[in-house]
Structure formats: C-alpha cells, structure tokens
C-alpha cells in the first residue's frame, strides 16, 4: 500500500519535465478547432489588412500596387480624418460616463425595489435586445423627426435633433444610452446580488447608515465590475458605427462622422479599400493603446489593494 501511495507522490517532479515536451497534454489539441477558426477569420485577415493598407487596392480587389505608407500619410493630412477621430473621442467621452453611471444607478434602484422586480429588469434591459436597425429607425422616424416626432411633439419644442450640427452628436449619445445601458445595468445588478449579505448586517450593527453602507461596502465591492464595464464601454464606444450610419450617415456637416463611418465612406462608397484599411489600422492602434493603458492601470490598482 505504502509503495502505491508513494509512487504517485514521487512522480510529479520526474513527470513534470516530461509533460513540457508532450504538448498534447497541455490541452492544445482541444483548442485546435478554435485556433483554426481564430487564425482563419481573425489573425489572417488582420495580416491581409496590413498588406491592403500599404496598397492602392480598390473594392474589386484590383489595382493592388504597393504604395508604401502613402495611405497613412494621406490619412494624417486629411482634415476629415482628424475630424472623424475627434468626433469618435467626443462620442466616447459623452457616452461612457452616462452609460456607466446610469447602469449603476438603475441597478441600485432595481436591487432595492422589492416588488415586481422582473418588470424593472425588463424595462431597463429590453432596449438592449433590439437590433441596431430597429433602434435607429425607431429614433429616426418616430422620436426625433422635426414637426411630428415624439420628443418635439410631447415637449412642444422645435429642435432639429439630427439636422443641427450642434445637437446631432448629443442625439446620437441619447439614443445609444437608451439602447445599450441595459447591458451595464445587468452586469452591475449581478455584481450587487453577489455581495455577501453579512457585510451589510455587520455594518448595520455598527450603526452605519444607508449612505455609509453604499460608500464603504457596495461601491468598493463593485470595483472589479466597474473596471470591466469601463473597459468594455470604452471599446464599444470607440467602435461606434451602426446607429450613426443608419441615422445621420455622418452628417450634418460631418458633426457625427465617426472614424469607422469615415473608413466605410472612403472604402465602400469611394471604393478605396487600401486607404480605408489604413484608416482602420489607425483606429486599431488607438484601441490597442487604450486597452494596454487600462490593463496597466487596473493591474497597479489590483496590486495596491492586495
């Protein structure tokens, strides 16, 4: 008996060096189907895209001569590219703040309302289930139209929501918040429900009021969720396209043209896929920088707190 028990106990150090060579035991074999799809549909197109961005290739795949960094140089010289980039950053800033705060607010509200909870959950999460085309048409044709739109009609005001360059971006933000706040709400709600109840009980015994409990227990316990939501939200907002394409096409006077809309315009209606690829890679670089910065930031904070 002793030997049979001892054998496995003694085995690991010897087997450890062996396992390093037997790559199948890492589970790589199980990952191969995923890897194949990942390489074919993500890694390879990313590499192809780099090549396209260095050529003058058109929508038909012809005229694909190598032009070096001419596309990038042209993009950096183009005022409309900078304008689109600026619009994208403005949209990201304007949309991320309310999307995170409102998500938290709604989640706290629903968490503490003890009756017909399903109704509140459905109300806040419902819009997120709609496809972008439905959302855009709803706001474009029923809520925003001047004259007979829901907002102007109800409030008795006369605002060109999508026709006035100083208002259009706010209108895009409003639509986006209404549409996607449900996702952040859901993440926050799940996090709230997983905070151990005994913390609140202990705090209550110590005489902490509702505000203290929120500040000292709830918000710190939601820290990781907040970090996740901010990352996801920044990435989603930087990539805004659907609702802008469907509702304003980038207008009026370029006030809502996001960088992806700009890439679409030059690539698919202007036929210059090479140039559009270069613009896409500029956005890609920005997204990589933002993601790395966030990772560093959160890692430092996590180390500090532990």
């Amino acid at each position: 008996m002793a030997t049979t028990v001892a054998a496995p106990a003694a085995a690991p150090p010897a087997a450890g060096t062996k396992v390093r060579h037997a790559w199948t035991q890492h589970g790589l074999l199980f990952v191969v189907p995923f890897l194949a799809v990942y390489v074919a549909f993500l890694v390879w197109p990313v590499i192809l895209g780099v090549r396209m961005s260095l050529s003058s290739v058109n929508i038909a795949g012809t005229n694909d001569g190598f032009v070096g960094f001419a596309n990038y140089a042209e993009a950096f010289r183009a005022p409309l590219m900078w304008r689109s980039l600026w619009n994208t950053l403005v949209f990201t800033a304007l949309s991320t703040v309310p999307l995170v705060l409102l998500g938290l607010g709604f989640a706290l509200l629903v968490h503490h309302l003890r009756f017909v909870q399903w109704l509140w959950r459905l109300s806040f999460f419902g819009p997120f289930l709609l496809p972008s085309a439905v959302v855009s048409l709803l706001w474009l044709q029923m809520i925003y139209p001047p004259g007979y739109g829901l907002i102007n009609g109800t409030l008795g005001i006369d605002v060109l929501w999508l026709g006035d360059p100083s208002v259009a971006m706010w209108a895009m933000v409003l639509t986006t918040v209404w549409w996607t706040v449900g996702f952040n709400f859901l993440l926050y709600l799940a996090a709230l429900q997983s905070i151990p109840q005994h913390l609140y009980e202990a705090a209550a015994i110590d005489g902490a009021n509702a505000w203290n409990r929120l500040r000292s227990i709830t918000l710190p316990m939601l820290g990781r969720t907040t970090a996740l939501i901010v990352v996801l939200q920044l990435l989603a907002s930087l990539k805004v396209f659907d609702q802008i394409y469907l509702m304003t096409g980038g207008g009026p006077q370029d006030s809502t043209r996001s960088i992806i809309e700009y890439a679409y315009d030059t690539g698919f209606t202007g036929y210059r896929i090479g140039y559009a690829s270069a613009v896409s890679y500029i956005l890609f670089a920005i997204i990589v920088v933002v993601s790395l910065a966030q990772l560093r930031l959160f890692r430092k904070r996590a180390e500090g707190s532990s």
Binding site: A60, P165, F268, G270, R272
Partner: protein
C-alpha cells in the same frame, strides 16, 4: 396487390417537399421552366417602387414575346450598395448577364475591368443602332471610344405642380397648364402667389436635408449650369467653378428657404409626402414619382424645371444597360441578352409611363408616348440635360453627390452662408480630385 390509397413512398414525399421548399426559397426570382430548354438571362437592377412594377411588367411581356428565353430578375437596393455589388461581381468574373446602371457612374468604375464592352455587331443584329439614340447620351455611353452601355432613358429634375392650388393662385394659363416662368423674379413671384393661395405655407418642397440627402446637389446642378457654369476643366483635373455664378444659384436656394418659399425641413420622403397630400404646390424632384402620385390621386401635372439663369438645363442621370465582366460568355445567353435589351429599348413607351424620357429617339415620335400625360410634357429637356462631369467620383449616389448635398443643405436652411457652402463644396471637390482614382484607366 394491395388495395387502398395510392402509395406514396417516403422518398417521393421528401423529394417533393424539398422541391417545394426550394421553389419557395427562391421566390419569384426564377421563373418557371428552369432546367428546360429555355435560355436563362440573369438581370440585376435597382428599380424599386413604381419603376420596379413597370420593369417587372416589361420582363413578363418579353417572356411572352420570346418563350425561349427566361429572364431572372434580381432587384437590389438603389444607391451606393448597388455599385459596390456591381464592382465586386464584375471583378469576380461570375457576374449577372445584364445589369442596369447609371450612365454618370460609367467613368467611375466602367474603366476598371468591371464591365465588358458592348458588341456593336450583336447589338445591330438585335436591331439597335447608335443613330437611334439621343446623341449626347450615346456619346456618354463610351469610354475611350469603346461602347460600354446601352442608354435606356434620361431622368431629369422636373417641376411637379398641384393643379388645384395653382388654379386657385391664378398660375395656370388658358390651356390649364402652368404658365412658364423665366428668371429669378418671375419664379419668386409665382411662388409668392402660391404661398398666398395656401395661407402662407411654404409652397415648394424638395429633398433639402436628412440622411444622405442629394436634393441640394440636384437643385444646384440644375440652376448653376443654366448660367453656363462648369464644375471641372474638360480634362477633369481641376476645379472650374465660376464663383459668381455658383453663388447666384446658392443665394437663390438660400432665399427660397429663408423667405419661407420652400420648407427647408423636409427630407426626401417628407417632400414627396407633402406634395402628395396637397401640402405643397410645387415639388422639385426627379421624374420618377409620377406613378405613385397618380395612384394616390393627387391633382397634379409636370413641367420642365424652371429656367432661372438664362439656360433651361436640368440635372439628370440616365438609366442604361451594361454587361458586368464575365470570364466567359455563353454565346446563346449573350444573343438572348441583346434581344432582351433591344426589346426593352424599343418598348421605351411602356417604360416612359414611369416618368423617364426615353433615350431611344423613335419612341419620342410614337403616338403611344405622346399620349402619355404628363410624362411627355417635359420631353424637350432630353437635349438640355446636365450630366455629371466624367470623373470617377461622380454619378448617382456617388461621394460627390453626398458631399455636395451635405455642403449645400445648411445653405437652404440659413445655417450657413452661401459663401461658406461653396467653400465646403470646393474643399470636398479638391479632396476628391487629389485622391487617386481607385479604378485607373491604364489598367485595361
């Protein structure tokens, strides 16, 4: 043997339902008789609404005239996505046998191996000759002297007018037709009279703003060329806009909006709706709304776009037929395709019901066409159509249309001065001129 209900094997049943499901899935795209001895011609077009109904009727009529050929109609969305699809299909070499195309887009992608040249010999065999077409339009169907398109019609900007309102405003002549105006003062006077008759509501509607608006471009490109203005130098390399003339046209557009003579808050759909419902006395639009207006019983007629700055030109584009590039063509399908084109072109009078002016000159003399009212009222415009310059970024739903539309839209509403509008348009134009042509010619 066994008595009872007729025996149906599982295989027959499965096969039968599969066939049914297949037929249902393909819908009406494939007419009956596929797989028989019929020659199949695959035809792509973007003709929707009433245009589409009329085209579908003509395809059916051709099917009856030539039972040996079946035309597979495929209707795609109008605008930029259509030209993206054509470009990709043509470059792959496995494209449809025939496609509808805007003539002004020809310079854009026609030169890049996307389209196959028209075989003039086969065209003549089918009974069509170049001399039968309106000369400027026939000329535009060529690139570097090679024929790439067969013109079908021209669809110019026209002026629709509500006969009831105009009668009330005293704008109709003794023949019941709108008295034509000449110059800016007469146009403004006419609009003011209509405005009074409508109790102060803006009498004119056109596509003035909104998602992908091209209306401001269409109106400007009708007015500006009337004074002899050009957009580009003949070689298509430099801007040739005459600021004075361009601003005169823009100032008129701004005047219409700020003096309440046109409702600058209408997008395309709203402008048509306003006119259809008698909320506007005039509609400036392409000629294709005629069928819809007739169906809805609006009391209306049509005339040429008003002459304001000397000439009488009107912005226009032309529908035409092209052969997207194929690696190899079946000679029989090719002949059938030409016969189908010839059938459509020769029956242009049926097509003119949709509002378009036939490019096939013999049709313009036919009693059947002349009897069309109001579609034959503006046929004289065919010699004065303002087509786009022949460069790669022009034509229906092109980048230039979209960018000019966006530059001029705020001028109509008064949000932007005519000078700023023109500057924005020129900036777009120089940007497009500076960008390399994605389909350079030397490639062929």
């Amino acid at each position: 043997m066994q008595e009872g209900p007729p025996h149906v094997s599982r295989r027959t049943l499965l096969g039968g339902s599969l066939a049914l499901a297949g037929a249902a899935a393909t819908g009406c795209a494939i007419p009956m008789g596929l797989g028989s001895s019929q020659t199949r011609v695959r035809y792509w077009h973007f003709l929707g609404a009433s245009d589409g109904i009329i085209m579908n009727r003509m395809v059916k009529a051709f099917g009856q005239a030539e039972p040996g050929v079946s035309v597979e109609e495929n209707v795609l969305a109008w605008g930029e996505p259509y030209y993206t699809k054509i470009a990709m299909a043509g470059s792959g070499g496995r494209s449809p046998d025939l496609a509808t195309f805007h003539l002004a887009r020809l310079a854009g992608i026609g030169a890049g191996r996307i389209l196959d040249p028209i075989d003039v010999r086969l065209l003549e065999e089918a009974g069509l000759r170049g001399s039968d077409f309106s000369p400027p339009i026939w000329e535009r169907a060529h690139l570097d002297g090679v024929l790439y398109a067969i013109p079908f019609d021209a669809h110019p900007m026209v002026q629709y007018y509500n006969t009831d309102i105009c009668r009330k405003a005293g704008l109709l002549g003794p023949d019941g037709k709108l008295r034509p105006t000449k110059g800016e003062d007469e146009l403004i006077a006419m609009l003011r009279q209509a405005k009074d008759a409508m109790g102060g509501k803006p009498p004119l509607a056109f596509d003035a703003l909104g998602l992908g608006t091209v209306g401001p471009w269409r109106v400007w490109w009708s007015l500006y060329p009337q004074s002899g203005g050009a957009l580009l130098t003949p070689d298509g390399r430099h801007i040739a806009i005459d600021d004075g003339k361009a601003l005169a046209a823009l100032r008129l557009m701004a005047r219409l909006g700020t003096e309440g003579l046109c409702d600058w808050r209408t997008d395309y759909g709203a402008s048509v709706a306003a006119f259809t419902n008698g909320q506007a006395a005039f509609l400036w639009n392409g000629d294709w709304e005629v069928t819809g207006l007739k169906e809805r019983g609006t009391p209306f007629s049509m005339t040429r776009f008003p002459s304001v700055f000397g000439g009488a030109s009107a912005q226009a584009d032309c529908h035409s037929f092209v052969l997207p590039h194929q690696r190899s063509r079946d000679p029989e399908v090719e002949r059938a395709t030409y016969r189908f084109i010839a059938y459509l072109v020769k029956h242009s009078a049926d097509w003119a019901v949709a509002g378009h002016v036939p490019a096939y000159l013999p049709t313009l003399q036919q009693p059947a066409y002349l009897a069309l009212n109001p579609q034959s009222e503006y046929r004289s415009v065919i010699t004065e159509v303002a087509l786009d310059p022949q460069v790669w970024f022009t034509g229906s739903a092109s980048r230039m249309w979209l960018e000019f539309g966006e530059a001029f839209s705020p001028v109509i509403s008064g949000q932007r001065s005519p000078e700023d509008g023109l500057a924005a348009a020129k900036a777009s134009l120089s940007r497009l001129l500076a960008a390399p042509n994605p389909f350079p010619r030397q490639e062929r």
